[in-house]
């Protein structure tokens, strides 16, 4: 890209040199300036920086009429513009790359997958060969063996839960609820999910107190959880019939310009 007149007139700020001692030699026979400067680094050390700069004046031969036209006066909307490109009409875009290649047909149209799967990464689950499981030639013969395998895995799991008595033994979360000890995921206290209702489409202005006021007339509750910015709440009643009554009454109930939607909480649906 040819540099504009403007760029020639004012050197880039990157070329500006701070107020440090400078020693500029005259250009040597190759037209190279040597700039030696001493500066103090941030850590207090004094360093000597030697830069070699070569300036080259590029002359371009242009058609005579083109040269004449470069001196034209601006007209129309640009009438009052000073010479040189104006920022309101002319800008430089960001760097763009044109990469030419001969067999671009696939290369261009299909974006390269982010993670290339090399053959070494592919291991068949059946026969451990270097191909996708679905393409395994032993798929059918291995299938029966595989079912056996999963059966044995299940029995292992059940044996694990039987070993419950041993304290301190790590039990994977997926197996924990098989233990039937009343402890759910993690160490959170487990509420009786059966009596929990989920209220959605609650206005964002609703406070915990508002919700309690709304709920308490149906009966005693264990826990009221309100997520205001998401506009939903979980209410866990002590008695199931209270929960049922609340669900029937509040579902479709207009509350602060919104219509509440009430349903049994997700977990107890399953």
């Amino acid at each position: 890209m040819p540099a504009t007149d403007k760029e020639f007139a004012k050197p880039s700020w990157g070329d500006d040199v701070d107020d440090f001692e400078q020693d500029v030699t005259e250009k040597d026979e190759d037209g190279i300036f040597t700039v030696v400067e001493e500066r103090v680094r941030d850590d207090g050390k004094k360093v000597k920086v030697t830069r070699k700069i070569k300036k080259k004046l590029v002359k371009e031969a242009v058609n005579h009429v083109v040269a004449e036209r470069k001196k034209l006066k601006k007209f129309g909307k640009s009438k009052n513009d000073p010479s040189g490109p104006q920022e309101d009409t002319t800008n430089i875009s960001e760097e763009i790359f044109l990469k030419l290649s001969s067999n671009n047909k696939e290369g261009i149209k299909v974006e390269e997958p982010k993670e290339k799967v090399t053959p070494s990464n592919i291991v068949c689950r059946y026969c451990k060969g270097e191909h996708w499981t679905i393409k395994c030639p032993f798929k059918n013969s291995m299938l029966s063996e595989r079912t056996k395998l999963s059966e044995s895995r299940e029995s292992m799991a059940s044996s694990l839960s039987n070993d419950d008595s041993k304290p301190g033994k790590y039990i994977p979360p997926s197996l924990r609820n098989r233990m039937g000890s009343g402890r759910g995921e993690g160490d959170k206290p487990q509420y009786d999910d059966e009596n929990t209702i989920r209220i959605t489409n609650i206005s964002e202005d609703t406070t915990d107190r508002d919700l309690n006021e709304l709920i308490h007339r149906f009966g005693p509750t264990n826990r009221v959880f309100l997520k205001r910015d998401k506009g939903y709440a979980f209410v866990n009643f002590v008695r199931r019939e209270d929960a049922e009554r609340a669900l029937n009454t509040l579902n479709g109930y207009g509350y602060d310009s919104l219509i509440l939607h009430v349903e049994w909480s997700n977990r107890n649906k399953n």
């Binding site: 036209r69 007209f75 763009i96 990469k99 261009i108």
Partner: protein, 326 residues
């Protein structure tokens, strides 16, 4: 490369054209102001004030003294290229779609639309040395079939090569106005028609998503460049065996498409092998018009987004060789 962004236009570009030496770039857009730019640094030289409607086409004569613009305000205007002074207004009965100076600058044609009972017409005018003696069109060619979308002079000003709205390409005798030859390979509007340097073949861009290179003498399709989207413009590199295509989906469906899926890139194809060799991103709307610098060292594109981008190609572009070329 870092393209130069020209944002003087307030609406989508309709046509850009370099002058003969390539130092100036002329542009028209749907705003009413034809504009001229210095192509080497993107500086705006001036604007041509006077049109009252969308400008569809612009042409500059060989010596860069006159500019002809066609507009939707039912006029075709002749300007002094270097001062912006309006020299003459050709009043028409419908919108002017296409304008072209003849080689030698003594004549010009402009194409008017078929609207309100007027037939689509090619008007011939003699360009007077003294603008005050400028005469109205002395001859016309009309059609009863699909209307003309673009018209260009054939070599030695002997013929007029015309693209139609239904995809037909026809060649008329410039003297008698008779139809010499026609071919229908495209199935939708011819959006652009640009000649090679020696005028022996030309490239078309059509809404039917194809771009063809036609032999001028026989109107046989020499090369085909199929794409998957409407092609708005196509240009032949005067330097290398490349062509560039620009397009995108219809303007009305642009807002519902993301930039990455919109395919608003300029696509480079190898002219001989008809294979895509590269793409240049940048516009965020369909590309409406493309032009190669006469030297082949840079090209410009004008988009529906209202920007013109001038690309001065990097040195490695010129050293690139296609596999089969080595």
């Amino acid at each position: 490369m870092r393209p130069i962004l020209l944002n003087g236009h307030t609406r989508s570009l309709t046509k850009i054209k370099y002058n003969r030496e390539g130092d100036l770039l002329f542009s028209v857009s749907k705003d009413h102001t034809p504009t001229v730019w210095y192509s080497h640094n993107g500086e705006r030289l001036g604007t041509y004030e006077g049109h009252g409607g969308t400008c569809w086409d612009i042409d500059v004569n060989g010596t860069t003294t006159r500019v002809l613009t066609g507009s939707g305000d039912n006029t075709c205007r002749l300007w002094e290229a270097t001062t912006g002074k309006q020299l003459h207004v050709f009043e028409t009965k419908s919108a002017v779609r296409s304008v072209a100076f003849a080689f030698g600058d003594k004549e010009a044609i402009f194409v008017t639309d078929a609207t309100m009972g007027n037939k689509s017409t090619i008007h011939f005018v003699k360009i007077a040395e003294n603008p005050e003696e400028q005469q109205p069109p002395y001859k016309t060619i009309t059609t009863n079939e699909a209307k003309f979308s673009i018209a260009r002079w054939g070599y030695l000003n002997k013929t007029i090569v015309v693209g139609h709205d239904d995809g037909t390409i026809s060649i008329f005798d410039a003297k008698t106005g008779e139809l010499i030859r026609k071919a229908k390979d495209h199935t939708d509007t011819i959006q652009d028609l640009q000649f090679s340097n020696d005028l022996s073949y030309f490239i078309t861009a059509s809404k039917d998503t194809n771009s063809f290179i036609y032999d001028y003498e026989t109107l046989k399709v020499l090369k085909r460049y199929p794409t998957e989207r409407p092609v708005n413009s196509a240009a032949i590199s005067p330097l290398k065996d490349h062509i560039i295509l620009g397009g995108g989906q219809d303007a009305m469906s642009v807002t519902t498409t993301s930039v990455t899926a919109g395919k608003f890139e300029v696509r480079f194809f190898h002219k001989i092998f008809q294979e895509e060799i590269g793409r240049v991103k940048g516009h965020f709307g369909p590309i409406n018009t493309l032009a190669f610098h006469p030297s082949g060292k840079s090209f410009a594109s004008g988009g529906e987004d209202g920007y013109i981008r001038i690309h001065h190609l990097d040195p490695d572009y010129f050293t690139f060789k296609y596999d089969e070329e080595e």
